[in-house]
Point group: C2
Chain length 444, copies 2
């Protein structure tokens, strides 16, 4: 089974009219959520450092850096906006793996603005990019991830290549090459979690996938079987590969339908614990000072990814389930503000953090948690969160997403501008020039 070619055949034969309307709507929800994350992080030092390092090499002002004043060449914009996407760790996630928007939207929006492509064409290309990165990712999941690859980077590059390749109207052979050029750039290590490089991964994926599509359009050749070949992506980067995951049922359902949006500004695996703490805080009007201890029962992945006992700054705080729950209990929220350096180092939060213990339980799902709180008056409060807010079973509404957007961009842009950007996302399918959205996010 030639997975690369089968996938390429599907991609080049797909038409926008084939997409179910609910999938197109989901693409708009993803766009709104992604745009909020990118704007919200657009002045973060991670983005400033990346831009400072690369601006000397940038070209014509073809595309907007979201939420900033600068414009740059489309390829550089894909990289920098890709970094912005993921800095706050607040971007969307497929139900099983891959942050789907962060590698794909930056590449598409940069190319779309440069070439004045319609919003409708971008929505179609986005759906195909997501389909590609999720299927490629899941074909080697979870072993590939378990071995240490950051799948948002390693699979994301395929998504960006397929998406931009769709806008470039690649023929089947060129799409095979684009997927191969993506394969041979597939990279990103989980060792980088907790450093600025984690956000660099989707930025690189957007940049490199974009480049793969452009190279293929110029008939720059790659292998025929970049994904499934003996020394291709799947066999080299994973101990297991199921090519059926890539090829079966293409076009009959869309992976974007299983996309999730985070209500809290940290990794999804921590959401259920936070949700439980917030539920108990609201129900019992807790302030934090009456708490003797909080015991969390969580999926083992929570401990693997977010067990930082003593985080020292905001970024590390996102990888500490202890900080996340302590801050949520004291502030009644777990938004970006609760992951600032100041809150992570706040003695009140630190004191509560030290009273929190977490126990891995393989019988508990990734978005499930049990929370047990012991109070000074001897009472024991507990709750069981079966499906955290933001899960497929309990998704954020369109209004929730607009509210999240407003909160994210509030430090960066006036409310009137924010409202205009929100409306443009919902109306994206009607934009003749998708660049209108990008330019509407410019810092004024």
């Amino acid at each position: 089974m030639n997975a690369t070619r089968e996938l390429a055949k599907f991609l080049v034969s797909s038409r926008a009219a084939d997409l179910p309307s609910e999938v197109v709507h989901e693409a708009k929800r993803a766009l709104l959520n992604w745009t909020g994350c990118a704007i919200g992080a657009s002045h973060h030092e991670t983005v400033d450092h990346a831009w400072a390092a690369l601006r000397d090499f940038s070209g014509q002002p073809q595309a907007q850096l979201f939420g900033r004043k600068e414009r740059t060449d489309a390829l550089s914009a894909a990289l920098i906006n890709g970094v912005s996407s993921h800095v706050l760790d607040f971007d969307d996630t497929h139900a099983r793996a891959v942050h789907v928007s962060a590698p794909v939207w930056p590449a598409l929006l940069a190319y779309g603005e440069w070439k004045q492509v319609s919003g409708a064409a971008l929505l179609h290309a986005f759906v195909l990019g997501v389909e590609t990165e999720v299927r490629v990712g899941l074909s080697v999941f979870p072993e590939h991830y378990d071995n240490g690859y950051h799948i948002t980077g390693t699979a994301g590059v395929f998504g960006a290549a397929a998406a931009v390749g769709t806008l470039l109207n690649l023929n089947e052979q060129q799409m095979v090459w684009a997927l191969g050029i993506a394969a041979t750039q597939s990279a990103g290590l989980r060792e980088m979690f907790g450093s600025m490089c984690k956000s660099f991964h989707p930025g690189s994926a957007a940049h490199n996938g974009f480049m793969a599509a452009r190279l293929a359009k110029q008939n720059f050749t790659s292998a025929e079987a970049g994904i499934e070949g003996k020394r291709g992506f799947a066999h080299v980067l994973s101990p297991r590969f199921d090519s059926n995951v890539i090829t079966q049922g293409l076009g009959s359902s869309y992976e974007l339908s299983r996309n999730m949006y985070k209500p809290f500004a940290c990794g999804l695996v921590v959401h259920a614990a936070i949700d439980g703490c917030l539920q108990l805080k609201r129900q019992w009007h807790l302030s934090g000072s009456e708490i003797i201890s909080i015991q969390l029962q969580v999926n083992p992945l929570v401990m693997e990814l977010t067990a930082k006992i003593n985080p020292q700054n905001g970024l590390e705080g996102k990888f500490s389930v202890f900080h996340a729950c302590a801050a949520a209990m004291i502030h009644g929220a777990a938004l970006e503000a609760q992951f600032s350096d100041a809150v992570v180092c706040d003695p009140v939060v630190v004191a509560l953090r030290k009273k929190i213990t977490a126990f891995p339980d393989a019988g508990i799902a990734k978005l499930e948690a049990k929370v047990i709180i012991l109070l000074t008056d001897g009472r024991i409060l507990q709750t069981h969160v079966a499906h955290a807010l933001g899960s497929l079973q309990h998704p954020m509404s369109d209004a929730d997403l607009a509210g999240k957007f407003s909160g994210l961009v509030d430090p960066v842009m006036p409310q009137s501008q924010a409202q205009s950007v929100i409306q443009m996302c919902w109306d994206f399918a009607q934009l003749n020039d998708s660049g209108q959205l990008s330019r509407a996010t410019a810092s004024v």
Copy 2:
């Protein structure tokens, strides 16, 4: 043992005056050989396609595309010149693994020209870049390569990062980050061999290593243990890792001393077989038509890498030991001209190719071969090549390298210009502005 930090410590404490003069001389030999390869391939369709795909995004004319008219931003120049390096498969190779110059010189020369860095500083940075990429590569060799990674790309990115990082005068912490940012971009699949992507690997390595150094200089952080961490480069991309290979004896000897230059325009593993055929041709004045059969006894890697029985074009011809030996026997040479589409499809060469058989023998070394020829008059000729020309035991002389350079650049530049570039390479340590060399290669 913290290999990343130990390596960073060495890199930032090394001084140009520490280098033995023979190592500096070897750096000039590598420069001359690399420059010839890059100029010789500078108008190849692989380079044309890459430049066509990327020029729309390029920035200010900071650096020269070797052998061409165009100038572009330094980062793009590193990529394009990196592709040129390897198109002809004629670039240098460390005795055990990694084409050392292709990922490092393009990054250094582009940065050096942009910032008018001296030739002496570039020679020092090159030696450090090579030391880094070879040690990192060998720490996971051969398993990493056997699993399907193209080590020139995967290790080369570390070399480019260390080399440019040296010119940027990174401090120790920044060098740790630069190596980490390199680690998380480490990529390149052997599945791509035989396609244009093989040359894209050193281009990407040069580009991404350059970017890693620039990001680190802006305090863009990565993990502390990008190489040896649990989910760092070595453990994720290889089943085996020996950190001592990275850290032991740093500064007491230099890996560049084990660099090899190819006299023939194809993979090193084929050199001994070609050498044997040429020896017998010269000794017995063979024309090809009197040959009934040629039997080769070769290292098993020859069969693994270059067993294309029926190559259809020049590129595939480089991966066919059968074509290489047939063309050498008929033309008396195995230079770029013998790997043209026309020669690969020449009926006379094809007819002799079909008379050649090759047998893998694990007892034969990589640069060793036995050649047995049966003639129509019943004679059997044979030779045993213990060490092919170009090996450490039988290296090309400085004059050989200059001759190779002239042959390589002959289709691209006038002889007088070629002589001037050769002289500039030998005098490189005296250049106050290394960009003089780059500009001297410009197409007139």
